[in-house]
């Protein structure tokens, strides 16, 4: 069964190495868990960025080279000399019990750039096994009074029935055996406050690591509900460590991961020959490929909301598809319009040209109230109903 799913996903992906999930994409799954399109593309490891480009709706993500440089400089500063500065922060500012620490850098040592599926898989499995046994050993040692700090350990967690590898920046094993996830972020904390959106994204990503650690260890109580975010302080490059309680994020994640329709079920409803194999630029078959890819995407129902624009590579494609849907105007708009699916339907119900179905009667009443209030307000102000294009 597992092999069958595997083969199926490989076909969907089309003979290229898979794009892997990471904490960001897992966190993104929770923001729109009902989207089958993303669930299948992510499970199969399709390169969504490339796919979006091929079908003519390139995403506009990307990090400025300046941001990358600054991020690297900061991470290097925090982790240099076996994290000596960081350890001091953790001990003094946060009171984390890390006396003499054994430090290990478990980062990938693969510099070959080999991305062939089998070899990459093998490497990941080996790294994961190594990290896992080091962490277990550290917990045992911690009972005897030792403490450890691991940089870039590799964790694994099933998402939608498929294993996903995750790499937190740092995991500390405190004396007594409790674990602490530590993430280094380069957005500043100014007078104790960080940018809300960035802090929220960092918290949910860190929560993914907490959950993965808990599932890997099978001992949830060992991993702290708090994560530590290490950010530049004020306008400087000096690190400041802040505890962030991610209990709420963990609850959300657990809930969403549990209700992620398992991939097998999704695959059953799809045509057997479905594939997103992308044409190589050189083979001149791009035009044909676009039609095929667009058609293939049509088999995967998307659930577009404006929030997708900031998280998903496919967002522009899906937005184009969703033109005329109330949800494309905002989740709040859709709710205010009585949950009616399309704009045309909502306006029809509002002006009485569309007869409501049985479960639309309430929505229709709301919409008629809105339209009455709107038009009477414009009458009161003596304004024309339609604004002319302003000069």
């Amino acid at each position: 069964m597992q092999d069958q799913t595997e083969a199926r996903l490989r076909r969907i992906r089309g003979l290229v190495p898979p794009k892997r999930h990471d904490a960001r994409t897992v966190a993104a799954l929770t923001s729109n868990p009902g989207c089958a399109r993303r669930a299948v593309l992510d499970a199969a490891g399709v390169d969504k960025e490339r796919l979006a480009r091929q079908v003519g709706f390139p995403s506009s993500f990307g990090q400025s080279p300046f941001a990358i440089v600054r991020g690297n400089v900061f991470e290097k500063r925090v982790t240099e000399d076996e994290c000596v500065e960081l350890l001091q922060l953790l001990r003094e500012d946060l009171g984390i019990d890390l006396p003499v620490v054994s430090y290990a850098d478990l980062s990938s040592t693969d510099r070959t750039g080999d991305t062939s599926t089998d070899r990459a898989d093998e490497m990941l499995r080996a790294r994961y096994a190594g990290s896992r046994s080091r962490l277990f050993q550290a917990i045992v040692d911690a009972r005897g009074g030792g403490a450890s700090l691991f940089m870039h350990p590799l964790l694994r967690m099933p998402v939608g029935g498929r294993p996903v590898y995750l790499e937190p920046d740092l995991v500390a094993v405190q004396r007594g055996g409790s674990l602490q996830v530590i993430e280094i972020k380069s957005f500043p904390v100014i007078d104790g406050q960080a940018d809300g959106a960035k802090a929220a994204a960092a918290a949910i990503q860190a929560a993914v690591y907490v959950l993965a650690l808990r599932r890997m260890l099978g001992r949830p109580e060992l991993v702290s509900d708090d994560v530590v975010l290490v950010c530049p302080k004020d306008f400087s490059n000096t690190p400041v460590a802040t505890r962030v309680d991610v209990r709420r994020q963990i609850l959300v994640l657990e809930h969403q991961l549990a209700r992620l329709t398992s991939i097998d079920q999704l695959l059953e409803t799809l045509p057997a020959e479905l594939t997103f194999r992308m044409a190589d630029r050189r083979d001149g078959a791009v035009a044909e490929s676009v039609i095929k890819l667009t058609e293939a995407l049509g088999h995967l129902p998307a659930r577009y909301v404006p929030g997708c624009l900031s998280v998903c590579d496919m967002a522009f494609f899906c937005r184009q598809e969703a033109v005329g849907c109330t949800a494309a105007l905002g989740v709040g708009v859709r709710e205010q319009l009585g949950g009616v699916e399309t704009v045309a339907e909502a306006l029809g119900l509002a002006d009485g040209t569309v007869a409501p179905t049985e479960h639309q009667t309430e929505a229709a009443t709301t919409l008629r109230t809105i339209v009455r209030a709107y038009t009477s307000a414009l009458d009161l102000s003596g304004k024309p109903r339609r604004r002319r294009g302003a000069e």
Binding site: G192, L378, S381
Partner: protein
Amino acid sequence: MSAIHAYARARACASGSATPVATVRHVHLSERPLVFVPLTLAGEANAPLAAMVGTDPDRPALLVVPQPRNRDLRFGFAAELADILLPYVDSFAVAAGEATDGAERPDGPLSEDAPQVLVPNPGGVEFARLFGRSTRFRRTQGEYAVKPSVPLLGRWLTFFAECAEHPGSSMMLAATDALTLHWATGQSAVEDANLAVLMGWLAPPPGTTGAQAARLAGKNPAKYPPAGPATDPRFDKDKLVPAIAAYDNAVAAPDTSDSADSAALRRSAISQLESVLRELLEPTWKLMWQAIALLRGLPGGASVAGRWESDRARFAGFHEYLAEGGPPQARRDGAVAAARRLNRLEQAQAALEAERAFDDPLVMADHRISGEAFAGTVVAVDRDRRIRNGSGKGRLVTRPLVTVRTEDPVGLADGTKVIATARRRQDCYIHAVDRQGDHVLVTVEARSGMGRNSTPAPGSVPKEGDTLCYSSVLADRVRSLNLPDVSATPWTHGGPPTPYEPNTDDAGEAWE
């Protein structure tokens, strides 16, 4: 998202052009606003990269930081910005004591007019807040000295950014916020945050619909660059990285005997950077003035002048505070100060909501849909009703009853205070709500605004056939909190805070 706004979005989406959600202008627009379009360097903590600023649409000043990671250059930028902003602020004279109309004004100084800073989006306000934060504590002497204008600029920027948080203040406005307060587009709020796309909907070029113009603007970030403060990563990679590198090389070039050469090299690198950044900022600069023109086209709401007067008082007060040598605003408020500020903001929010609804039937429409207000025709009046005050034991008082027939979904409980838009001085209370199938009969009891006689003054009570709109969304919804004195801050809130004293740590704070 209000119901009216949601419906207006749906209509805009169907028709392809923007739909009004206001019939009057709810913000004040100065005759002479200062437009400020700041840009930051990606990845850094609010490091300024460039800004276009000025009061004349045809002659913007372009400020550029050739190497944003250089601390001295950042303070140089701050000083240049101060040279524009401070004279602008000072041009609004403050007269202490009384107002121009000679009326007594016990609340302190007032200015005849006040400055207004307009930024493209909420990110621009945030830039001002953080740039104010990073400059207001700086010292002008000794180690890390900066120009005297720099900390002053920081205080003003902080002041403007704080005003921007104050509901109803127009001292610092984000164009996208001001525009979406008045028009709905056929796209989501996420997309409205992009000024170029939003303006596509609101002011499409002749021959195109709003939807088409917006799509065009969204697809082409090179021609319609983001309005900042963040720049497009592709722009950074393709244009900014090489331009800044060229400057760095020019600076690092060995100072050979021919120093004129290296100076020329540096000048050319800077002018190259300037042209790259001017190209990036100009479209937004133009859009800002277009946005201003668009908003000016709307008639001002009745309560806008009153709110601007509060802004003038706030400006004059702060001007005086600085003139008296007041220290920079603290990094963080103490518990009592924070609670007070929050209470003030909540009160201002409630007052603003009430005023906007009374000014504008389209805003009131939202309250009618939510059941907090209703409009209809008077069908019965008991004009001479008199009852005993108190619980039936006091003296006789005039309490007319007015019954309004409405089709609105009234959701008001008996005893709720309501006021009619056309009769602002008459407090009424819901007496009875009688639901009758497709309409509702609401009876309200008038309690004031009828004169002193035993029978109501002529015209002071509505007549049958009058069309009225009563609202329960009133300014006094949020009460003033009875907060302790700062010196009596309870221990649960950390006890009395130590008063803020500017210190050398703040002045010498790293900015790297």
